[in-house]
């Protein structure tokens, strides 16, 4: 069922995928505390191993072009099981939004405004996010291209400015840790940055994609995101080396070390700017997806009026997610790969397999297909 009537172009979708991945490049503490100086290996391996996963997402989008993810579940599993899985996914989207929102609030509280209660920061962010969500998917994804390119720019500049501090010896010794750690890290890469792309399956009705364009979009987008992630990680490892596991935000510390002559210092403001930009839009997309999912569960088209209350719910939900930051890191490293894996890997693959077995989607009669083709795309970009 198509709730939001606006259309976006495939390039914009590609940039949305890219910046979704790039926002995970800033909070790499999950990875770096497990495989410290070898963290780039799981990124490479994870990227390669997830190619089939991306193909699964792409196939789901192409096979069910008019359904959101919840609609796909309904079609494939039937109404009852589909609804139960739908509720599970709604909870999943809300949890993701809450986690990212509290990340943003905590980051600001730790670095900039140490005495403000983090709920105020979160509410501030949510008010602007809800305003964007009310306007629909066009506004939420409008700046994706701009921010992706800005993030590339920031990463490039910071890497350039750190040339004198890069010490390639920090990469050694390679492959000396226990294999379970590499598997662990790869699992984390597969679920936390890449797996979150499953939420973009909710945007399927808004993007008209043929099989070839979809493949190009997904792979280019994931490619851009993974390159940023890889470059950031390698930069952090090269500069910080063994000390990386001490820091909760290695990217921030790396940028703090930039010191060009007498004047160019405090470049970490760029890190804060990039983080705020990317996390804001990630939270915006996630809140939008949650609102659409709730509207679809209740079979209503009025998602605008739900946006504000969903936003406030996400703020309060974030406060009850974990008791303190340490538990958060431990739980994310130990439990989340499996838990998110169910939502991001197991269920999509199962859905595709069952869809293929049941030969869904059924071929639509010619009339309906023609009606779908006569659509105004002139406001598409």
């Amino acid at each position: 069922m198509k709730i939001d009537q606006s259309q976006i172009s495939s390039t914009r979708f590609m940039y949305t995928i890219a910046f979704f991945l790039q926002s995970s490049a800033l909070l790499t503490a999950f990875l770096s505390s497990i495989t410290e100086h070898d963290s780039w290996i799981p990124v490479l391996i994870g990227g390669v191993l997830c190619i089939p996963l991306i193909l699964v997402y792409r196939s789901l989008m192409v096979n069910f072009p008019e359904n959101t993810l919840l609609g796909m579940l309904d079609t494939v599993y039937g109404p009852v099981v589909g609804k139960i899985l739908g509720v599970g996914y709604v909870w999943f989207f809300l949890t993701l939004s809450a986690l990212n929102l509290t990340d943003l609030g905590d980051f600001t509280k730790i670095t900039v405004l140490t005495e403000t209660p983090s709920m105020i920061l979160a509410i501030f962010c949510v008010l602007v996010v809800v305003w964007a969500v009310r306007h629909g998917v066009k506004v939420v994804t409008r700046y994706s291209a701009l921010f992706t390119i800005t993030e590339f720019f920031i990463v490039f500049i910071s890497t350039l400015l750190l040339f004198d501090k890069i010490d390639l010896k920090n990469f050694l010794p390679m492959f000396q840790l226990e294999p379970i750690k590499y598997i662990h890290s790869t699992h984390i890469i597969a679920t936390i940055p890449i797996g979150e792309l499953v939420v973009l399956l909710m945007l399927t009705p808004s993007v008209k994609l043929s099989r070839k364009t979809a493949t190009k979009c997904w792979f280019l987008g994931v490619g851009m995101g993974m390159i940023t992630l890889l470059v950031v990680l390698m930069r952090d490892i090269a500069v910080l080396g063994n000390t990386m596991r001490m820091f909760a935000l290695p990217g921030l510390v790396t940028m703090r070390l930039i010191h060009l002559g007498e004047s160019l210092s405090r470049v970490e403001i760029l890190f804060a700017v990039a983080l705020m930009m990317l996390l804001f839009f990630k939270v915006a997309v996630l809140c939008y997806v949650s609102t659409i999912a709730i509207a679809q569960m209740f079979k209503t088209k009025k998602y605008k009026n739900l946006a504000l209350i969903v936003g406030i719910f996400v703020v309060y939900y974030g406060t009850i997610l974990y008791p303190n930051n340490v538990e958060h890191v431990v739980i994310s490293q130990e439990m989340m790969p499996f838990f998110w894996g169910i939502f991001e890997i197991v269920i999509p693959i199962l859905t595709l397999v069952i869809a293929k077995i049941r030969k869904l989607p059924k071929k639509q009669p010619e009339k309906q297909k023609q009606k779908q083709e006569v659509q105004h795309a002139w406001d598409g970009s």
Binding site: L306, Y316, T319
Partner: protein
């Protein structure tokens, strides 16, 4: 506590009243579900009742199954 209640009342006025005026039953149901849950989560800590953290609960669940690192 007062701020929380005022805030939620404001949200209800902004979003619920147009829905009632347009008589959209399903949207009202969706709104009220989320509203009630949000209100409980917001009000309970102010009254002193501790809500158990959600992820810790799932963590224990998964560890008991054995499905974690």
């Amino acid at each position: 506590m007062g701020w929380i209640l005022t805030g939620f009342a404001l949200i209800a006025v902004i979003d619920l009243v147009p829905l009632i005026l347009q008589r959209r039953g399903r949207a009202i149901a969706a709104f009220l579900t989320v509203f009630v849950i949000a209100l409980t989560i917001a009000v309970l800590p102010a009254l002193g009742v501790q809500i158990p953290p959600v992820l810790t609960f799932f963590d224990k669940l998964f560890k008991s199954i054995g499905l974690s690192y």
